[in-house]
Every structure is written in structure tokens, then in C-alpha cells.
Symmetry: C4
Subunit: 244 residues, 4 copies
């Protein structure tokens, strides 16, 4: 345990535990593998956020969580290696006061949409949060040839701009971000962004016409789903706790 | 344990155990995830049905089962939260006296057909119950823009009307229902609706002509399969019991 | 234990054990699920064969194995329920003296080819046994509308005729059979029929030209693979034994 | 334990352990099944290499590792059966002094590209090492009809020639090789060659235009990824060690 980890305690103990569970759940279901990350706003310092040190999500424990300030700098002189892409989190938290948690993932059904001219759209009520279709952030449009990572504040600002008020933005040649007004909602959205992408892919391959949710249906479905978010969260939590 | 759970006992003890196993089997195979549900008619009160309180199917125990009347209202003043979509069950039981059990699922290979103009049809003998192709219930046709859930009796009545005398009806942008004259048959049909959808998808993607079962073949295969239903059921039961 | 089970002992003890392992391996990898079966010739009585009683393959133990005569009748007055489709085995053993073991499967990547005009062909060296493409047995051509099962000797004879000297024959709307001059080879072929089907499906979906193995390549690859059959068999055996 | 195994010890003990872990990781993730292999250069004798005896990768232990000379002959009179295709390794090590480890795999998403006119190209930053697209070695172009294995030095030389300075070469009707300047990098590349192939397949099936990484993006992404190689390696190592 170290100072940075302690900083969030004791009143943030429950938040820390939930963040660890979020890491485990997303790894358990393959939404995160050796890469990707999930963060949440600091429970007291609203312009700070909590994010693991650079580590595979499946291995994250409470002691691995670091505290970052609004410029995505580690606080308290925490010397541990941070994820290169922490700016994704910092800049979205800055641009979106409603967002309390963020998942950045490379999950396998979503990448194809991130690199295709075919838009990811909500095909069922579980993914109403994709209403209107997910926008795509193509880093080369503003920043030329890069390694595709979001490595600084400027790139994070542009990603947040593309995200706008959407719940999900795809990142060309890279992955996606999903955000929520609650950690459980952000996790849910990352999980079902992957699911929706897999389903839409299959629907397209059937060759017939595909009907997507209208914006009104999507809005209503998204609102409904946030009302029952406890149900899948409790299941996932039980699954990762019993798998330890 | 509570009054509502007890109501079905003691002569319904075996039914309760089977319903729990049905929940676990469908969750184990991914036909149900955090959502979806399976019900059965009450073993004595034929216009009542048994359905878990609002809970992820993998977590359901006998004590979670509630008793609903023909209008899908909880009986005995049971104060626990019920699934929003219990009307699916109530109205199908009312319209279809032959039906003893119902599964409502969002399984991943079926949704694409529910949102496509390509019809789900029986591609092999395991899915003869899909004879003639599964009808599609599109809630917006009668009810306009909704969150896609079946939230009241009227919507349940319309779903039951579309189902007609079929074994399976798809629900656009949502999922499907599978029914049977026996709990094990309904579970079997939900499992193999998913399988058939996956196989049909692949067959279509091969690009050649696809041959489906004729209605006569489908009828014969369905009848045959119901005669050997014990075999897969015993396997699935063994798998979920040994996984506990 | 019963007389029929004992009949094959004691000199057939190793054969019985291998047959049980074959059942478990094929179930473990999803080539068999609640249905399908694997048989072998009786080690002493060459016109008899060994096949489990009607049971999900994952649950088969040595005591479940029955002995059938050349007409697919149970021997020794064994009263247990036999698989309806045991005639698949009896008639192939009669027509193909070189065959020592047979797998009948409904595995998920193969069915689409059984119902499509696109032929299953060897796409890699692991499936040289598919040389020339797998023939398709369409039961309705000779027997009209049925439940698609091979339920009698006449249907078994026709299936064996379509199989000819191939290693694999597909069954329209149903599944396939894979045969071998050794139990391990038949299991291997069933496993890699499934794999080849999955790979060919993906190759076709890429949209480009697909190159298959020539017949000469297929013959050489098949011969080579039979020479190293111990390697995958030992792995699979280890996996199912450690999973018990 | 035997002389050949001892030969690499004691200063190569860590290398041996890593090679065993590499075998287990690749088997755990299905990049290797009963077939395929991974080798590394001998830590002291730079023109020799370490490779298991002929065995399923999941079962490899330190004692199974043999030492081969630059002509792919077993050293020290080691009498154990070697992989038929050890020449893949020997000739690539000879042609590519920068290469320290090699994986040869038949993984399921890659084979379709090896047999298709559609080229495998980097679709995301995890697979920058595929820059420019993977070349395809078609053994029949130089060697006519074979069983598709690389069975001698001449065939290995030709494969190494096609590989050139790429990180990955596909082998028509067979599989692929992935190389790296470090064992962990070669394992990573084999894992993500499989992933990239699966993603590219899905992207193509969406029917829209697909954007791949430019060569400059691919180079930068590959360099970046090698800098964080410890993260996935530590995860994979933990997973296979805890699964024992």
C-alpha cells in the first residue's frame, strides 16, 4: 500500500472496491484483455480521478489505484508507471461534468466498426445508449501519423470533442470509450457496446434489411436500462468474486 | 423463505426445483444473461404461473420464485420486485392453454433475425419446432415508440397474437419467446432457437443456396425430439448441479 | 454393470476405456452435445460394434456401452434403450471393412455446409481427409419426408452408399459422419471436420478467391497426419481425465 | 531429465522456464492446439535453438526441451522424436540474426487469410507488426504437391526468403510463423496475428470500406507496443501459472 492509494481512503473505500470489481468484470468478459482501462471520478475531489497504475485489468487490486488531477498528472508524487493513455480520462472528465466513469477498451467486435464506414447503431434495447450511432474519432485527421494512442492533453481534448454528448465514441484503428453517470452504467455500456457490435455484424451478414432502434426508442430503452442496472451488476460482481 | 414461495409447496417442490434448474441451465449456456426469464404454470392453480422475482437467472433459488395470477399480478401480497415484462408470460398462458412453460431471452444469434427481413427458419432436425419460420412481433406497429419492453397486458396480448400457435416468436429489437407443453421442452427450444439462428447465419454467409426443413420434416422432427427430451435435460441438469 | 457390458471384457477393457474417452473428448470440444455418438468395432467379434446406450456422450461410462450385432440389434438381450440411429454405425461397418470407428455429430460449423450448395473442402493440411470434398446424404431423395434421422437399415445402407470411400459424409438438415481405421483417427477427423468447416466459412466470407488443397496434397497430408495421431489424442485424453 | 535438457542449464534456466510458459500461454489461448510450436535461440550458443520434443504444447515441461544446431539437427545424440517441421526454426534463425524467438501456429482466424487472395493487414494498433501486409508462402510454387509441411532445409530456406524482413508470414493451406527479437514479442505477435485476422474478417463482412493502418502508423504502433510488452506477458504468465 502507498500514499496515493491511501489518499482515497477511508471515505472512498467502497468506490475503490467497485473500481477493482469493474476491472475484473470487464477482464472476465473479454471487454478488456492485457490492455484497456476503467476509471472513475474521485468521490470527494471532483476534478480528480481514480485509475490503476499501468497493469493488466485482471490483476488490479485496490493498492494499484492511483489518483490523477485534472491534467492527468499523478498526485502526491506517486512514482508508479501510469497508463500512457490516461489523458482519455482526464479530458473527458473535464468536458463532461455528467460523466462519473469511463471505460477504454479494444474489444473484438467493436474494432471492425471503428475501422469501417459502416456505423455502429443500436440494434436492440440493451444498447439504447448508442442512439443516433457512435461517432468515430480518427486520430490521423488532426494529428497525422501516430501510434494511434491518445498520449497527451491535446489528443484527449479532440477525442472528447468527437464524443460530444454521446455515451460511446469509437477510435479508428484502436478501440472505443464508453462513459456513464455511474460506474456501473459505464461498465454496462462497455459490455453491451461489444454485444451490440457482434449482433449488428451478424444482422448485416444476413443480407436482408436491418431495422435499428429509432432515436426515441433508444432514449427510452436507455433510460429504462439505467433503472435496472443493479441486476446485471450484482450478477457480474458475484461472478468475479466467486472466481477468485 | 417467504409466504409466496411457500404457496407452491409442498406438492410443487419438484416443479420449483426444475424451474431453478431451468434458470441455471439457460444462464450457463448464455441463452439468458443478466436479463431474460423462464416461467412455468403453477402445478395446481392452472391460471397462475411461477416466475422468479427480478433477479439475474444465474442467481435464482427456490425462495426467489413468486406466484402470479392470470393478470400477471403477484399473489399473496408478495412485496418483492417483479420483472417488468411478466405480462409476456401471463398473456401467453391465457392465450395458449397447451403451453406449460415460457422462456424469454435476448440470446445473441437470435436478435439479428429479430431485426432483419431474413426469416428464422429450421435448418436442422434439432429445430423442427421453427416449422414455417418464426413470426416477428414488432412492438412499434401497435404501440409506437417504446422502450421495447412488454410492460402491460395489452402488449402481452399482441405478442401472444403474433405468436399464434407457433413455438417461437421473435421480438424486433429485443429478443424472443419460446414456449412448450413441458418445462424441459421450452428450455430445449430456447437453447436450439439460439443454435439454429447461429447455423442459419453461417449457412447464408456461405453464399450458396440453403435448404431448410419442409413443414412436414419439421413436424416430424419436432415430434421425435420431444420424445427424447430427457437426454439433453439430464445432461444440462448434471452440468449445472456439478458446477455449483 | 451388466452382461452386455461384460461381454466385451476382459480383453476389450482398453477398447472400452478408449471409447469412453472418445465420448468425453468429443463432448468437451462441443463436437457432440446432448446428441450424437461414437462407436467402435468390437475388438474380437469383427461384425459387432460397441456403442453407448442412449445417453448424452459427456455422461458415458464403460458400463453404458452396449454390444450390437451387424444388423444393429443389441446382443445378449440387453434391455437398455439404444440410440435410434445405431443403423448409421451398423451399415457403415458392413459396407466398409476398413472402418474401425465412427462418429456421428451435429457440430455447429458443419451443419451449414450440409444444408448449402457450397461444398465442404479441405482448406488446410489438418483436414486432408476431406479430399475431393465431402459428399452430402439428403435423406429426402430416397425416403421422402422424414424426421431426418437414420432409423432403419435401409436408410443406413443409403448413407453408407453416399459415403462411399470417403472419410466424411454430410447429412442434409442433420449433421455428419466421420470414419477412421482407428478410433483416434475417427475422433480426430470429427474434430477437424468441424474446424475445417469453420475456417472455410471464414475464408469464403473474406470475399477473395479461396485455394483448397489439391487431391494429391490432401492425400499426402492425410497420410502424414495419421502418423502423428498420438500427439493430439494424448493431449485430449489428458484434458478430459484432468477435468473429471 | 536428460543430457539435452541439461545442456541448456544452468545459465539458461530462466530461458527454459520462459519457453515453457510461452508454450502454455499459446495453448491456453488456442493459438496452438495439439500442433504448432514455439522456439527460442539458445541463450549462449547463438546458432543453436531450443524447441520441445514432438509433443502438444500444453504438455511441454522444461525436460521436454531439446537443443538443435543450425541445420536443425538434435544435439548431444538426443534420441527423442523431434517436430517434423523444426526446419522452419533453423532456417529463419539463420536468415534473420535479429530474430530470437519463433512461433509456428495453425490458429483459426489466420488460416482463412493464408488460403485467400485477401491480404492480412493491420487493422488496429495492436498489430502494427503486420505493416504492409503479411506475405504468403505457398509451398507448391517451389515444391509441387506436398503434405504442406516444411520438412527439410530447402523448404525452410524458401519460407525464410518469403518472410524477408517481415514479422509474420502466412503459409498457404497450413498456418503462419511469427518472429520477434524477444520471446515475449514473438508470443505477443502470434496472439495478435490471430486477433487481427478475426477483426479484419469481421470488418470486411460489414460491407463498408475498411481503413487499415498506414505503414508509418504501423511502425510507430509496433515500436510502442514492444515498449509495454511486459504488461500482457505478466498477465498471461499469471494465468497459466494459476491454471496449473
Amino acid at each position: 500500500m502507498n500514499d496515493a492509494g491511501l489518499r482515497v481512503r477511508p471515505d472512498g473505500e467502497a468506490a475503490l472496491q467497485d473500481l477493482v470489481i469493474a476491472n475484473r468484470v470487464l477482464a472476465h468478459y473479454g471487454v478488456l484483455d492485457g490492455f484497456g482501462h476503467v476509471s472513475m471520478r474521485h468521490p470527494r475531489l471532483r476534478d480528480h480521478f481514480l485509475l490503476s497504475r499501468s497493469l493488466a485489468p485482471a490483476l488490479v487490486t485496490p493498492d494499484d489505484v492511483m489518483v490523477f488531477d485534472q491534467d492527468s498528472n499523478a498526485t502526491g508524487g506517486d512514482p508508479r508507471t501510469a497508463y500512457l493513455e490516461r489523458y482519455i480520462h482526464g479530458e473527458i472528465y473535464r468536458a463532461r461534468p455528467d460523466v462519473q466513469a469511463i471505460v477504454h477498451s479494444h474489444s473484438p467486435s467493436v474494432i471492425p466498426f471503428a475501422s469501417s464506414s459502416t456505423r455502429l447503431r443500436p440494434i436492440y434495447h440493451m444498447a439504447g445508449f448508442l442512439r443516433g450511432g457512435a461517432p468515430v474519432f480518427d486520430i490521423c485527421k488532426c494529428f497525422g501519423s501516430t501510434d494511434l494512442l491518445v498520449r497527451n492533453r491535446e489528443q484527449g481534448v479532440e477525442l472528447a470533442r468527437i464524443l460530444g454528448d454521446h455515451a460511446v465514441a469509437l477510435m479508428r484503428g484502436h478501440g472505443f470509450v464508453a462513459v456513464g453517470a455511474d460506474l456501473r452504467v459505464a461498465v454496462y455500456r462497455a459490455m453491451y457496446t461489444e454485444s451490440n457490435a457482434a449482433l449488428q455484424q451478424k444482422a448485416i451478414a444476413l443480407g436482408g434489411d436491418v431495422v435499428y432502434l429509432t432515436e426515441e426508442e433508444a432514449d427510452k430503452a436507455d433510460e429504462m436500462m439505467q433503472g435496472v442496472i443493479t441486476r446485471p451488476w450484482d450478477l457480474w460482481k458475484e461472478q468475479v468474486l466467486s472466481a477468485r
